[in-house]
């Protein structure tokens, strides 16, 4: 008896194309996913200070304006996702639209942005880890441990390694945990805002500042440079919002849930950002001394400084909220650069070793470890070079997001060029929105890049007379160009368009 072996691909009918359980996410679930991807407690503590340093009291205006290019690009993103649901990401989309060279750089930009955010997430988690230790044991000297450079770097590397290990093993945050994390973050941020307003009302605020309609006027920002810097920072605070737009079969109602969830998510986020931004400005003002939001000392992590004076003994909740949300994001964010590198390795755009999948855990093996090493290296370099690494990395990150997002948006315009004028809807979603969004982002990118050459830019760190933010942002992109050229010499088949 001899029967040839045969393989049966038994795909369960309840599974979506993306390997997610179909129909498992309702509207609230989708909003929770959206908010958790944004991680508002982490984004606010990381971005609020640097944005205030650029635009001062016009923070609420910039936070609102920053959403516009994000929205425009996301509309195009959604069209690409519907047209090529399996194709994936900036790398494959941009490759199909503009060819291998720009596609490669789009992929590189995305990987670089996620690597930078990984190193920043780990650093923020470490800061609040020590801060929380200090609060638990009522011993402020424990909180100061994070300022000891070797200890800080060592702890951050441990956090990165831990998240990498969890991601490599394929362990995931469950629904229950995600609900708790999101609810807790929103609750604590609300608590912070209410406490701050109570202090203002009682006259116990640090620098009570009356809210003025002018704060909401983006045109009152004193220069285009500040405006551009502010917008590229506020792109970062909405980064993650569009995740719900890429969902489909996994939702209970693929027609309506993603759009509604995106709308509710942005409402929740805007409300919480506005409330916290107004509370922070009213309580602390934008002064450059003491607790002022304009004090460079406070800007790398605003809640680390303000939570204590505002929330009193309950400041520990803020530490816990930020620590938990940044640790959860750290672990989940590892998946994206690892998978993008894996795809690039698979399509021979980089060494095929990146395309390896662990037979035991069925997760990207080489690429996950590479992402961890890159994030660790990035952190060690910025931490040793910069006086204020968190601040500068967030600014560089904003630039990087503008870069790859801009490319993706224009890829959308180019990809749909033939059908763009087939109707009003197509014209708007496939052409006008992504074109405007892409152009705005790339203009912000170029403007920020040029301004950041000034050694006084950002936290004021510089390398060889050039601003550190420029060195980080452009350095990473130039490094990408160099690696790309090396790859072209080593494996030209991808660049000759033979693979994708």
């Amino acid at each position: 008896m001899s029967t040839a072996p045969k393989t049966v691909q038994s795909k369960e009918s309840t599974l979506s194309e993306k390997g997610l359980k179909a129909g498992s996410v309702g509207l609230i679930g989708a909003v929770v996913i959206g908010v958790s991807c944004i991680a508002p407690a982490y984004t606010l503590t990381a971005a609020l200070g640097p944005t205030v340093s650029e635009v001062g009291v016009h923070l609420p205006a910039i936070f609102l304006v920053g959403f516009i290019p994000m929205l425009l690009v996301a509309l195009g993103y959604r069209e690409l996702n519907n047209a090529m649901p399996d194709a994936g990401t900036s790398f494959t989309w941009a490759t199909r639209a503009f060819g291998p060279w720009i596609g490669w750089m789009g992929g590189w930009g995305l990987i670089a942005a996620t690597i930078i955010v990984l190193s920043n997430l780990a650093a923020v988690a470490v800061d609040f880890f020590y801060l929380m230790l200090g609060q638990i044991f009522s011993n402020p000297s424990l909180a100061d441990l994070s300022k000891i450079l070797p200890l800080n770097i060592a702890t951050t590397l441990v956090f990165i390694a831990g998240a990498c290990w969890i991601s490599y093993r394929g362990m995931e945050t469950t629904k229950g945990v995600q609900y708790v994390l999101v609810a807790f973050q929103l609750l604590v941020l609300g608590w912070f805002a209410v406490s701050a307003f109570v202090h203002v009302a009682n006259g116990t605020a640090f620098d009570a500042t009356a809210i003025s309609p002018d704060w909401f006027n983006p045109f009152a920002v004193d220069s285009f440079s500040s405006f551009a810097a502010g917008v590229s920072l506020s792109i970062f605070i909405y980064w993650g919002w569009d995740v719900t737009l890429t969902m489909n079969e996994e939702t209970k109602n693929p027609e309506k849930t993603p759009g509604r969830a995106a709308t509710i998510t942005v409402l929740v986020i805007v409300i919480i950002y506005m409330t916290v931004a107004l509370a922070t400005l009213s309580f602390a003002g934008v002064g450059e001394t003491g607790l002022g939001a304009g004090n460079p000392e406070n800007q790398s992590s605003i809640f680390a400084v303000l939570a204590g004076p505002v929330m009193g003994p309950f400041a520990i909740l803020m530490s816990l909220a930020i620590l938990s949300s940044s640790a959860a994001s750290l672990q989940s964010t590892f998946v994206s650069p690892a998978r993008t590198m894996l795809a690039m390795g698979h399509y021979r755009a980089i060494s095929p070793r990146f395309g390896k999948i662990s037979p035991t855990f069925k997760s990207p093996s080489f690429a996950t470890i590479a992402a961890a090493i890159a994030a660790a290296a990035f952190y060690v370099i910025t931490r040793t070079v910069s006086e204020n690494a968190l601040w500068d990395t967030i600014t560089a990150l904003g630039m990087m997001i503008c870069f790859y997002y801009g490319i993706t948006a224009l890829a959308c315009v180019w990809f749909f060029r033939a059908s763009a004028f087939s109707g009003v809807r197509a014209f708007f979603f496939k052409f006008l929105a992504p074109l405007l969004g892409g152009v705005i982002l790339l203009v912000m990118f170029v403007k920020t890049a040029m301004d950041s050459m000034d050694p006084e830019y950002g936290s004021g760190s510089s390398v060889g007379g050039v601003g550190l933010v420029f060195v980080l942002g452009m350095g990473v992109i130039l490094l990408g160009v160099v690696v790309m050229l090396v790859m072209y010499r080593l494996r030209p088949e991808f660049f000759k368009g033979k693979v994708l």
Binding site: T7, S10, F361
Partner: protein, 288 residues
């Protein structure tokens, strides 16, 4: 009959395929190699999205499965299946139930350094919940020739008779010599008396089972009592044939028709040089 083989493209998966082939040799058995790939939780959303990954993972799984099927010799029918699940153990159980499999075959190890069996997490969960017998291949199991002898470990606890039934029937169907193994851990104590008692008990049980199936042309089973200061030592002192396999019952704590590896079985597993099949409580064999 069908056996579901929990396949992974590493040493553990190869052990499992080798054992499944050995068990299927000269039997009317076909193999279903099941490769489980993780099901992403939407609550762990990948951002920025990377939807292309799924295709790549599927292609890779397909290649792995082809490699696994290539390990199966031509005289045995084998099919491959790719399953999605957040728990590998649960996905294998689901596949076994769905395919009406008579047993699940897996590699037990995690590549432990010192013990032959360091139970991996998948094997661990399977042994706590599988409704069908679970065959565990020890680390580095290479043999693919047919099984040469069946051993059955047994004690005095409830369930021992049912296990003996399964062992006697299996040995008869497969024309294998049967050996009853009683393992005793004795620290000092009156070892001779206890060993005698164990031997007597085994003979009694065997007689009872033999009487209930009068048409059994089964060669006279061998009864051995192994002693040691620990169970592990008792296992080490026994002689094991290369082609032997040990049948063992599941713990009293097991839910009805599910396996549960008791502490004794667990210790046997760690010392055992041959494959082991853990039979669920109240299990009745599929007729072939």
């Amino acid at each position: 009959m069908r056996y579901v083989v929990g396949y992974t493209a590493n040493a553990r998966g190869h052990d499992a395929v080798h054992l499944a082939v050995a068990l299927a040799r000269n039997q009317d058995v076909s193999l279903d190699l099941v490769l489980v790939i993780p099901e992403d939780s939407p609550f762990n959303a990948v951002y920025p999205p990377e939807a292309g990954y799924d295709d790549i993972l599927n292609q890779q799984a397909q290649r792995w499965l082809d490699e696994g099927l290539a390990l199966v010799p031509d005289d045995i029918t084998a099919r491959g299946h790719i399953r999605r699940g957040d728990s590998e153990a649960q996905a294998l159980i689901d596949a076994a139930v769905e395919l009406d499999a008579a047993a699940l075959v897996i590699g037990a190890t995690n590549g432990g350094l010192f013990k032959r069996f360091t139970i991996g997490s998948v094997a661990g969960s399977l042994l706590h919940s599988s409704p069908v017998p679970v065959a565990l291949a020890p680390h580095g199991y290479q043999r693919t020739d047919a099984i040469t002898r069946l051993s059955c470990g047994f004690g005095t606890r409830p369930g021992a008779d049912e296990l003996l039934d399964v062992a006697v029937e299996s040995a008869r169907d497969r024309h294998l010599p049967l050996r009853l193994v009683s393992l005793l851990a004795l620290d000092g104590g009156n070892s001779l008396t206890l060993a005698d008692a164990a031997w007597m008990h085994a003979a009694d049980r065997l007689a009872a089972v033999g009487n209930s199936t009068p048409d059994a042309p089964l060669p006279e089973p061998e009864i051995v009592v192994a002693q040691g200061r620990t169970i592990e030592e008792a296992v080490d002192r026994l002689d094991w044939e290369d082609g032997e396999i040990l049948l063992i019952g599941s713990s009293r704590l097991a839910q009805h028709r599910a396996t549960f590896l008791g502490s004794t079985a667990n210790r046997i597993l760690r010392a055992l040089p041959v494959p082991m099949i853990v039979v669920p409580r109240d299990y009745t064999r599929q007729s072939s």
